[in-house]
């Protein structure tokens, strides 16, 4: 038996904002190549969990073990936010974080920032090293855009693109580094039914083709139930249940958290 068949393991994670315990002794484990959903009512602390994993917030307590690109398990807590991506973990944001003034392809290229190695000097003078590197990664970005069906708008500015496209661009940006784990914060929010279905297919395909693991937060229960292998439900920062979509749907505590308790 492989001792570390998880890719991400959260242990006893807690963070409080003032008196409010946003995440309270939360533990869960995500297996490799799994599509794992994190659900919970509004304000349950889902995005906070994401921010604790990616070190945007420093958790008060607990550990975040991640099996990085080299297969080594390390604790992410205490790392700086910009160091996380190099471990093979990349995320999207609930409120799309793209750069309006840059073209679609440039936005995607930002996703491979850490792969660029040319010195400032060789960038200033456009020396062959910088040029080749730019060319190579631009080609890769073009491939990613083709894959996402965005190639035809690659040179357009991000400003003014419709919402569904923006979501796709953000997803494309995460693919530049062949990450081990992609964290999606409400990927289906604001999408219509067709777009949601399409997204479901894309996420599944990304998992299969890139051999990656997906952790996502989503409100759309149909989306989560159809897509995720396992789901973790939380409420007020506390774990309610972990299990397959069927198990979660049948779980009484989850039903109470979402729908309230029935009076006897």
């Amino acid at each position: 038996m492989n001792k570390h068949d998880f890719i991400l393991k959260i242990e006893d994670l807690s963070i409080a904002f003032g008196g409010l315990k946003a995440v309270d002794s939360l533990s869960f484990e995500i297996k490799e190549r799994e599509i794992f959903g994190l659900i919970g009512p509004n304000g349950a602390g889902k995005t906070t969990v994401f921010n604790c994993i990616t070190q945007f917030y420093k958790p008060d307590k607990g550990r975040v073990f991640f099996k990085n690109k080299d297969g080594v398990v390390e604790d992410l807590v205490g790392k700086r936010p910009h160091e996380i991506i190099s471990k093979g973990l990349v995320r999207t944001f609930q409120n799309i974080e793209l750069i309006r003034e840059l073209s679609v392809i440039d936005n995607v290229l930002v996703g491979s920032h850490i792969e660029f190695k040319a010195s400032l000097f060789s960038q200033l003078f456009r020396l062959p090293k910088a040029r080749k590197e730019e060319e190579r990664l631009r080609k890769k970005a073009e491939e990613v855009l083709k894959y996402m069906g965005l190639y035809h708008i690659k040179d357009q500015l991000v400003a003014g693109q419709p919402y569904g496209i923006l979501k796709k661009i953000e997803l494309a940006r995460t693919l530049m580094l062949n990450p081990k784990l992609i964290i999606l914060d409400e990927p289906a929010a604001g999408l219509n039914d067709t777009e949601t279905l399409e997204l479901m297919e894309t996420v599944r395909e990304i998992r299969d083709k890139l051999n990656t693991t997906i952790l996502l937060v989503e409100h759309d229960m149909k989306f989560v139930n159809n897509l995720c292998d396992r789901i973790c439900a939380i409420s007020f920062g506390k774990l309610l249940a972990i299990g397959t979509p069927e198990e979660i749907q049948a779980n009484e505590e989850v039903q109470i958290a979402y729908l309230g308790k029935e009076d006897e």
């Binding site: 990616t54 945007f56 700086r80 936010p81 910009h82 160091e83 996380i84 991506i85 190099s86 990349v90 995320r91 944001f93 974080e97 793209l98 750069i99 309006r100 003034e101 840059l102 440039d106 290229l109 930002v110 996703g111 920032h113 850490i114 660029f116 040319a118 400032l120 960038q123 200033l124 003078f125 456009r126 910088a130 730019e134 940006r173």
Partner: protein, 346 residues
């Protein structure tokens, strides 16, 4: 014959925008010749030289404001520091121009990086005030360190001598300024289209995205300040060796604000916009308005009219006058179409 011409046009188009910059540079280099021939007044040359020098400084500021999303009201102080260092090193220490250029840029850069450290803690208005304070400290230094700076009376320098034996005159110095400007335009263009440029834009657009994508905010903020200050200092050195005189009150907040106006009027995030803005802020009063009847006759009226002009520009082109390009293109297109439809009717 025609084929060769076509090839040249093709080469020109394929090397854009470098070819534009270089053609611009060549046009500028013709100017001293026109002055020598008596076609253009000498005073024009001086004005244009300072416009070009301020363009270099404003390019640095545009990188800082437009790309990195930081602000500085300390530009004048750093430019002043460049002038004093250049004067002190070449005149008092008698060291060659090249060494002076190096030191006069490196020293302000170090101070600029320290300013960058401040920017990690404060942003927006607060950063503006902090950089203003640094600039005022520098200006106070120009007044008080009399042994080096000569206090209020200011300091003098001469036209530069390159490599120890090429003595540049007025025209030579002008050409040197043009070469520096074009070089810096090219380097700036390369930089903003490299991954560093994208990182700066990302930092400005979304700090969260920048961090998630592995962009070290600390590093890129310091880098932005270092580059902006280096441009200011280069501007200062060139100024010192062309105007040949520096004094503390030349480096006040007014100049920093004017430089900020340059990029806002010309076009934030635009290299040609910066040059255009510099022409409007530093050139239009002396080159155009003062030559006009009535406006030119009344003392100071040119500057008032320039203020009015700037307000009008901002009203119609809030993103910078450089965007007039698109409107002109549209107009041309319309004009062409109308002409075609007329000829069809006929």
């Amino acid at each position: 014959m025609d084929k060769g011409k076509n090839k040249l046009i093709q080469l020109y188009k394929s090397k854009k925008p470098y070819s534009d910059y270089i053609v611009f540079g060549i046009l500028l280099i013709i100017l001293p010749i026109l002055v020598d021939l008596g076609i253009v007044k000498y005073s024009y040359l001086t004005t244009i030289a300072s416009i070009l020098i301020f363009s270099i400084v404003a390019l640095g500021l545009n990188l800082l404001v437009g790309y990195s999303g930081l602000i500085s009201l300390g530009t004048a102080g750093f430019m002043g520091l460049g002038t004093y260092l250049a004067a002190y090193i070449t005149k008092d220490l008698n060291l060659p121009f090249e060494i002076s250029l190096l030191i006069s840029v490196l020293v302000p850069m170090v101070i600029g990086i320290l300013t960058g450290l401040v920017s990690l803690r404060i942003e927006g208005y607060y950063l503006a005030i902090a950089t203003l304070a640094i600039s005022e400290i520098l200006r106070k230094g120009f007044v008080e360190f009399e042994a080096v700076t000569n206090g209020f009376s200011g300091k003098q320098a001469s036209y530069p001598t390159l490599l120890g034996f090429i003595e540049l005159g007025r025209n030579g110095s002008f050409i040197m300024i043009v070469v520096f400007l074009i070089g810096i335009m090219i380097l700036t263009y390369n930089l903003i289209n490299s991954y560093t440029g994208r990182a700066l834009s990302t930092m400005r657009g979304s700090e969260a995205a920048a961090q998630a994508m592995g962009i070290n905010i600390f590093k890129y903020r310091l880098l932005s300040f270092a580059i902006a200050v280096a441009y200011s200092a280069i501007g200062g050195v060139l100024y010192m060796h062309f105007v040949k005189y520096t004094y503390p009150n030349a480096w006040t907040l007014t100049l920093s604000l004017n430089l900020l106006a340059v990029i806002i009027i010309g076009g934030v995030r635009s290299i040609p916009g910066t040059i255009l803005g510099s022409f409007i802020v530093f050139g239009v009063p002396d080159l155009i308005l003062k030559r006009l009847p009535i406006i030119g006759d009344i003392d100071g009226a040119a500057y008032i009219f320039n203020g009015v002009l700037i307000i009008i520009i901002i009203l119609f082109y809030p993103l910078g006058l450089i965007h007039i390009r698109n409107d002109l293109k549209k107009l041309m297109f319309k004009f062409k179409k109308r002409k075609e439809s007329y000829s069809e009717q006929a």
